[in-house]
Amino acid sequence: MSAVTVAARPVPARASRGLWRDALRRLLRNRPALVGFFFIGIFVLAALLAPVIAPYDPLAGRLVDRLKPPSAEHIMGTDLQGRDEFSRILYGARVSLQVGVVSVVLGLLMGGTIGALAGGIGGRVDTILMRVVDVLLAIPGILLAIGIVAWLDRGLFQIMLAVAATNAPIFARLLRGSLLALRESDFVIAARSIGASSPRLLFRHLLPNALTPLIVQATLALATAIIDVAGLGFLGLGPPDPRTAEWGTMLTDSTKFLHQAQHLIFFPGLAIVISAIGFNLLGDGLRESLDPRLRR
C-alpha cells in the first residue's frame, strides 16, 4: 500500500533540480574542495587586483633596499634589486593564471579534437592518432615543454603552447577512452535503436557524457600548468624579459642568496604551492561530485 502512495506522489521539488545543480550541491558540501576554492579565490583575486593591491611597482626598486627581510614597509621583503617581493608575487599570479588558463584551454582544444576524432571515427584513424599520442605521452611533460620552448624560442605564447602540448595527449586519451566506453553503453545503443544519426549521437549523447572527466582533468591540469610554467621559469626558459615577475624565475634568481634572504625562496614557493594545491583540491572535489556512480 505504502509503495503505491510513494510512487503516485508528485515530486516537483526534486524534479526541478538539474544534474549540474545536484553536482554543485555535493561540491559545496565537500570540505577539501571548499579549501581549494578558497586558495583559488586568493590566487585569482591576487591576479586580477594586482595593480590595485600592489603597494609598489613590481619592476622598479631601489638598490639601497636590496635583500631586505619582511618588515612593515615590505611585508614580504625585497629582492636583489630592491623590488617589493609582495608586489612581484601579485603580478606573478597574473602570469601564472594567464599562462595556466590559456594553455589548458589550448590543450583541451587540441587534445579534445584528437580524442573526438579517434573515438568518434575509430578504425584506422583511431590507430594512427593514438600511436602519435602514445609517442607524445612517452616523453616526460616538462622535457617536451623544454624542447618546444627551445625550438620556438622563449616567449609567453611559446610557453603556453609548450604547456598545452604536454596536456593535449592526456586530454586526447581521456576523451577517446570515455567515448569508446560510452559507444557500447546501453543508452547509446538505445539511442541508435530509435534511429539517432551519427552527429546527433556524438554531440547529444556521447560528448556531454564524456565531459565530466575532461572538466576534472582540466582543473587538475591547471595545477600542473602552474608548476610547469614555474618549472620552465626556474630552468631559465621563462618570459624573455628578465624583469617580468614570474614565480619560477623569481625562485631561480634567489637561489644564489639562499643564506642571506630565505624569504625570496619561501614566498614564491608558497604562492606556487597554494595555487597548485587549490586546483588539485578543487579537481578532486569535482571528480567526486560529478561521478555518475555517486548520483542519487
Binding site: A3, A7, A8, R9, P10, V11, P12, R14, A15, S16, R17, G18, L19, G123, E184, S185, D186, F187, I189, A190, A191, R192, S193, I194, G195, A196, S197, R200, R204, H205, P208, N209, P292, R295, R296
Partner: protein, 400 residues
C-alpha cells in the same frame, strides 16, 4: 506475408580468442500483431539474433555471415545505413534490460523523448512535447507534464522502464523487441510492466518479440515461443503447446528447473547439469548432447533438423496454428517430460564415440593453443579428453 521473416541467420564474432559461433542458422517468422517469446539461457544467441535484425551488432567483431532478414517486404541486411536508421525507431523499436543504464543520464526525459519523435516526424517541438506528455500518461506516470523535466536518475527503476516503453512506442512501430524487459526490476513491478506492455501493444496491434531466460515471463504474454540453445532454435510452437507438451530435452529441463506453485509437495527441482558448449568451436552434432539425458550416439555427430512433432509434412511457421516443431533425435515422451528424466528401462545416455572425442580433444588443443598466447599466467593448460564441454559425471558437470 509475414511481417518479419528471419531466414537461416548466421552471426559470428571474430575475437582475439577465436571465432564465436553465436547464431547458427536461425529461422523464424512473425505475423503482424503477434507476440513471440525467445527463450534460452545467457549466451544462447537470443539477444544477438535481435541485434542482428536491428543491425546494431558491436562493430567490428560481430558480423552477419549468412541468411536474410525480411521486414515488411524489405531486406534489412541489404539496406543502406541511412535507410536502416529510418527503420529503427519508426518501424522497429527496442526496450533494453536495464532501465538504469538505457537512458542518457545528462538529458531530461523531455529532451530524449522530443528528440526521438522529431528524429522521424516533421513536428514542432511543442507538438512533440504534447505527444510526450500523452505517452507518459499512457504508460502510467503520474503528473507527466512535471515529470518531463526530470532527469533519469530522479525516476525509480520501474518508472524508467515505463519511460523506455513510452519512448519505444512513441512512433507506433510495427515491431517491438523487448530484450529481458523485466529482468532488472523488482518482482512486484515485473507483473505491472509486463501487463502494461501487453495492453499497449495489443491496443496498437504491435508485433512483439520478448527475449527472456524466464519462462514465467513469457507464459502469460506470448502466443508463440522459440526455445534457443547455443545459437540454434531447438523447439518452436505455440506457448500453450510448449508448456503442455515440451518435446526437447532442453525445454523439459527448463520447465523442471523453475519452481511451480502447483507442483506436488516435496517435488525436487531438477537442474540442467553441465554448462553450454564452448561456442568458439564450430558446432558438430546436437549442441545439447553433452548435457542431455536422452542422447543417442547419433546426437554427437548430427544436428537434428527442426521438424513438426506430429510428423505432418505441412509446416505452419507463424500464427495461432503454428506447427509445434522440435529438433531432437530422441524426443522425451509425455511421461518422461512430466518426470523430467528418461523412464525407459535400461536406457543410458550414449557416451561420445571415439572420433568425436578425438575431434573434441583436437579442437580443445587448438583452442588451448590460442589461449596460451593470451594467457598472462603463462601456465600451460593441460588438455584432457573431455576437459571442456563433456561432463563425465553429474558432479563434475556441476563443479564447472
Amino acid at each position: 506475408m509475414a511481417l518479419l521473416d528471419v531466414d537461416d541467420l548466421v552471426v559470428r564474432f571474430r575475437t582475439h580468442e577465436g571465432t564465436i559461433h553465436a547464431v547458427n542458422g536461425v529461422s523464424f517468422e512473425l505475423e503482424e500483431g503477434e507476440t513471440l517469446g525467445l527463450v534460452g539461457e545467457s549466451g544462447c544467441g537470443k539477444s544477438v539474433t535481435n541485434l542482428a535484425v536491428m543491425r546494431l551488432l558491436p562493430k567490428p567483431a560481430g558480423k552477419v555471415e549468412g541468411g536474410r532478414v525480411i521486414f515488411d517486404g524489405q531486406d534489412l541486411l541489404a539496406l543502406p545505413e541511412r535507410e536502416m536508421r529510418e527503420v529503427r525507431g519508426r518501424d522497429i523499436a527496442m526496450i533494453f534490460q536495464d532501465p538504469m543504464t538505457s537512458l542518457n543520464p545528462v538529458l531530461t526525459i523531455e529532451e530524449q523523448m522530443v528528440e526521438t519523435i522529431r528524429a522521424h516526424r516533421q513536428v514542432s517541438v511543442a507538438d512533440a512535447r504534447q505527444r510526450a506528455v500523452e505517452l507518459l500518461s499512457m504508460v502510467g506516470i503520474p503528473h507527466p507534464a512535471d515529470r518531463l523535466k526530470s532527469y533519469p536518475h530522479q525516476f525509480s527503476g520501474g518508472m524508467r522502464q515505463r519511460v523506455m516503453i513510452a519512448m519505444a512506442l512513441a512512433l507506433e512501430p510495427k515491431l517491438l523487441i523487448a530484450d529481458e524487459p523485466t529482468t532488472a526490476l523488482d518482482v512486484t513491478i515485473q507483473a505491472q510492466v509486463l501487463e502494461l506492455l501487453r495492453d499497449l501493444t495489443e491496443r496498437a496491434g504491435t508485433a512483439v518479440i520478448v527475449i527472456t531466460h524466464d519462462l514465467g515471463v513469457v507464459a502469460g504474454i506470448t502466443q508463440r515461443l522459440n526455445v534457443m540453445y547455443a545459437g540454434h532454435i531447438v523447439e518452436a510452437g505455440t506457448t500453450d503447446a510448449l508448456f503442455e507438451r515440451p518435446s526437447h530435452p532442453y525445454t523439459v529441463g527448463l520447465l523442471h528447473s523453475i519452481p511451480r506453485l502447483d507442483a506436488p509437495p516435496g517435488e525436487k527441482l531438477i537442474p540442467i547439469e553441465g554448462v553450454p558448449p564452448d561456442q568458439r568451436r564450430a558446432p558438430t552434432g546436437c549442441p545439447f548432447a553433452p548435457r542431455c539425458a536422452w542422447r543417442l550416439e547419433v546426437c554427437w555427430t548430427e544436428m537434428p533438423p527442426l521438424e513438426p512433432v506430429d510428423g505432418s509434412a505441412e509446416v505452419v511457421l507463424s500464427g495461432p496454428r503454428a506447427s509445434h516443431r522440435v529438433a531432437c533425435h530422441n524426443r522425451p515422451t509425455a511421461d518422461e517430460a512430466r518426470a523430467g528424466r528418461p523412464l525407459r528401462p535400461g536406457f543410458v545416455p550414449a557416451p561420445p564415440p571415439g572420433d568425436v572425442v578425438d575431434e573434441l580433444v583436437a579442437a580443445e588443443g587448438a583452442v588451448e593453443e590460442e589461449l596460451v598466447v593470451f594467457d598472462d599466467s603463462g601456465a600451460p593448460a593441460t588438455a584432457l579428453p573431455g576437459a571442456h564441454g563433456l561432463p563425465q559425471s553429474p558432479e563434475e558437470g556441476e563443479q564447472r
